[in-house]
């Protein structure tokens, strides 16, 4: 039993280290990046990794490492913006829906169903296409797609606990709905939502890279991992490093968030907790 806890914490620890590194890089990008990420050096184009350009250069001679470093900013901010907005909105809507039930619940859940009926990325693609390309529109599109699953999860959890004795007791003491929701319900439903949000970060980073790859996201020359992949596509054989490094960056970020989410789930899972405490 002890072994299992250790294994999980190792995963979490590595993920946290990686994500801390990403965060550090994002904040201090200006100081860390060896070159200007948007500056083209046409003489140095399509160079392989070297001491001057650790990850090589792309088709316009821009330093890939610097572009990846600045790309962390974009990816993390898209992830944080989308996930926090969807979490807040989804949680609020889901809690209200689950707590009050009835016709309100019906209406909200049918709306959620409508959104969930479409494959997530496809819907985001459609909305981005409608709004036009760009950072803000991409974030909006992803929020519209993402909030529904949080609402669904929040509602389910609320329904599960709203009939518990301590809620009834609190109501008996004269607490109003707002007090019950904020002080008694939210603390009890928050852990699965946090786990979902952590894993959601990975998904959103992947989705935003996908949208940018297709030209719907961040516009050139702003460095973004997905559009870097797209730019390198025709050089996949003659200069594969243009695609490999941004690909690795996306992969690392997504895996780190997934591992963290998995670990958090095991840690926060009340059943597992009781087993390991026994």
């Amino acid at each position: 039993m002890r072994l299992r806890i250790k294994k999980h914490s190792a995963g979490i620890l590595i993920s946290i280290c990686i994500l801390a590194l990403f965060l550090f890089v994002a904040i201090f990008a200006d100081f860390i990046a060896p070159h200007d990420p948007e500056k083209a050096n046409l003489q140095d184009r399509l160079q392989g990794p070297s001491t001057e350009y650790p990850f090589g250069t792309d088709h316009l001679g821009r330093c890939i490492m610097s572009r990846i470093i600045f790309g962390v900013r974009i990816s993390l901010s898209v992830g944080l913006l989308v996930v926090s907005a969807s979490l807040c909105f989804g949680m609020a809507v889901g809690t209200i829906s689950g707590y009050y039930g009835g016709i309100l619940d019906e209406i909200i859940m049918r709306i959620v169903d409508t959104f969930l009926a479409f494959p997530g990325l496809l819907l985001a693609l459609g909305i981005s296409g409608l709004f036009g390309a760009g950072f803000t529109n991409m974030v909006l599109a992803l929020i519209i797609v993402e909030w529904t699953s949080y609402a669904r999860l929040a509602r389910g959890s609320v329904i599960g606990i709203k009939e518990h004795d301590y809620i009834t007791a609190s109501r008996g003491f004269g607490a109003d709905d707002f007090h019950i929701i904020v002080c008694h319900i939210l603390p009890n439903i928050i852990s699965p939502l946090i786990v979902m949000a952590t894993i959601g970060m990975g998904y959103v980073i992947l989705a935003s890279a996908g949208l940018s790859f297709l030209g719907f996201g961040v516009q050139p020359p702003t460095p973004e991992w997905g559009s870097m992949l797209s730019d390198g596509r025709i050089y996949i054989r003659s200069a594969p490093h243009i695609m490999i490094f941004p690909g690795l960056a996306i992969m690392t970020a997504v895996i780190a968030f997934n591992y963290l989410g998995d670990g958090l789930r095991d840690m926060l899972d009340p059943k597992k907790r009781t087993i390991s405490e026994m």
Partner: protein
């Protein structure tokens, strides 16, 4: 049966690999069987652009795609050297300035067995003149088309119109069978191959037309696949799935050329890449400013970097050198001239007033936005190189990529700075098509740039209405010189067509106007 847990995963992987291998073997056998059918063999090819919701040649540019596949033909066409040839016509005669008598080829049959005669031709041409047709205005000069006999017709024009015969080479003027019932889905033409089936946006299947008027086509059947992505087309060629592809990615040309298994074809085309300039907006309305942009471009560098040296040639003037109307033999490529560009910029009122390294216009921050679309892989990298060239003389620049329909809407509303576009400048061989659209004040594209020069209008109209070859040449030369002066559009480079076949394919030729690809002469060795 219980499998040891440890062995479970490797075992599953093994099954997966085994089934994949077995599956791919089956596919290979299948294609082998197909290619041995018939005497001439079966050709698979992958083209970059294709039709979507309709196969009717009168719909916009669909005619190009169905001609490329070998389904349809026109009365006249251009050969691989851009020399006008009679195709379904056997000749023409100019009766007067507004009357053209065309004799038709005898013994031509449509795929459905109908004989091609004057009635069929008039029927086909009238479909384009129909008021519903989106490109009807290009043929507004036609007064009437009448039947003289079974095999000859006369076209009367409203005013003397020299490019009349050339205008019949546009694939929109494809001759279709008057008996065909559903041209949108079941094309019936006179081409060397007849229609078998079409899967929307995916592929079209064709088989040999045995009664073809110009000898029996060599191939027995063809599958044309429409694949937008260049690398995917290349991989299809290399995996042997297809034997002919258009639009080889320029980064891969050298590797492909060094291999004996493939043959690479490159040829300068009539496709020109240029920047629309929004002359309705300041400071773009100032000729000095437009000239400064013109001198800021290093066209050779654009070709070297964005096109890997091989995808095109630097532009000299409006018309690519392959056009017989081009004045390029008297021109040099405009070299980048930083001092001249900066001088012109300061004359246009652009100065770095706050010493931030960027030029300001009338003391205000100034940024140029180049919009372009991504369907053609050359566009975005070219725009990015242009961006660095503008920035190096102090003009802050950014590149935006959008859907071409969105760009067109913006351009019509005058809501853009520069737009990088690609046009085939003389698909019908004659410059009138491009010049009247782009440089005549009333032209659809001139409305986007806001260009209007009464002298140029006069030349274009006069050149259209006279049939004196020398006089026309003089007018068109004048237009070309004047456009270089006025710079309503800044010409960047001419594209090379880059196609490749496997070494099995023979008889393939490239046509500069990009409207002929599959002919009766293509064969498999």
């Amino acid at each position: 049966m219980k499998i040891n847990k440890k062995l479970k995963v490797p075992f599953l992987v093994l099954i997966l690999i085994a089934s994949t291998v077995a599956g791919s073997l089956c596919i290979e056998q299948d294609t082998q069987k197909q290619s041995s059918l018939g005497s001439g063999g079966h050709l698979n090819c992958a083209l970059a652009f294709g039709p979507s919701d309709t196969l009717d040649p009168v719909s916009k540019w669909v005619g190009w795609y169905v001609r490329e596949a070998g389904l349809y033909e026109t009365l006249f066409s251009y050969d691989e050297n851009m020399v006008l040839q009679p195709e379904l016509a056997s000749g023409y005669e100019k009766i007067s300035d507004t009357e053209w008598k065309i004799t038709l080829r005898k013994g031509v049959k449509f795929h459905d067995g109908t004989v091609m005669d004057a009635d069929a031709v008039i029927y086909s041409l009238n479909r384009v003149l129909d008021s519903e047709n989106a490109r009807k205005s290009e043929y507004d000069f036609i007064e009437s088309i009448t039947k003289d006999s079974e095999y000859s017709i006369t076209i009367r024009t409203k005013y003397p119109y020299a490019p009349t015969i050339a205008s019949l080479t546009d694939p929109i003027m494809s001759i279709v069978s008057p008996k065909a019932e559903d041209l949108q889905n079941k094309p019936v033409g006179t081409g060397p191959f007849k229609f078998k089936s079409y899967t929307r946006d995916v592929s079209i299947s064709l088989e040999r037309f045995d009664d073809y008027w110009n000898g029996v086509p060599k191939l027995s059947s063809i599958d044309v696949y429409y694949v937008t992505d260049g690398m995917t087309r290349l991989f299809k060629l290399e995996s042997g799935e297809v034997d002919l592809i258009t639009g080889v990615p320029q980064s891969e040309i050298a590797t492909l050329q060094s291999s004996e298994d493939y043959e690479v074809f490159t040829k300068e085309t009539l496709r020109s890449y240029f920047l629309y300039v929004n002359m309705k907006k300041e400071p773009f309305s100032d000729r000095n400013f437009r000239q400064a942009l013109n001198y800021a471009l290093d066209r050779q560098e654009i070709v070297d970097i964005a096109l890997e040296r091989i995808g095109g040639t630097p532009a000299k003037g409006v018309l690519p050198s392959v056009s017989e109307w081009s004045v390029n033999d008297q021109l040099e490529v405009i070299q980048r001239n930083e001092t001249k560009a900066k001088e012109l910029l300061s004359q246009a009122g652009l100065e770095d007033t706050d010493n931030d390294g960027w030029l300001e216009y009338n003391g205000k921050d100034f940024e140029i936005n180049i919009v372009t679309y991504t369907n053609r892989p050359q566009l975005k990298p070219s725009a990015e190189v242009i961006e660095t060239q503008f920035e190096s003389i102090g003009l802050k620049t950014r590149v935006t990529t959008m859907e071409s329909s969105a760009i067109e809407a913006d351009m019509s509303n005058g809501n853009y700075d520069l737009a990088l576009y690609a046009w085939v400048v003389a698909p019908t061989g004659d410059p009138d098509y491009f010049f009247s659209k782009h440089f005549h004040s009333n032209g659809t594209e001139a409305l986007k740039t806001g260009y209007s020069n009464p002298q140029v209008d006069k030349w274009i109209t006069a050149a259209r209405q006279t049939t004196d070859e020398d006089l026309r040449r003089e007018y068109y030369n004048n237009v070309q010189w004047q456009i270089l002066e006025d710079c309503p559009e800044i010409f960047v480079f001419y594209q090379n067509a880059m196609d490749a076949t496997s070494s099995k394919v023979g008889g393939f030729k490239q046509y500069p106007n990009e409207i002929t690809i599959i002919t009766k002469d293509v064969y498999l060795k």
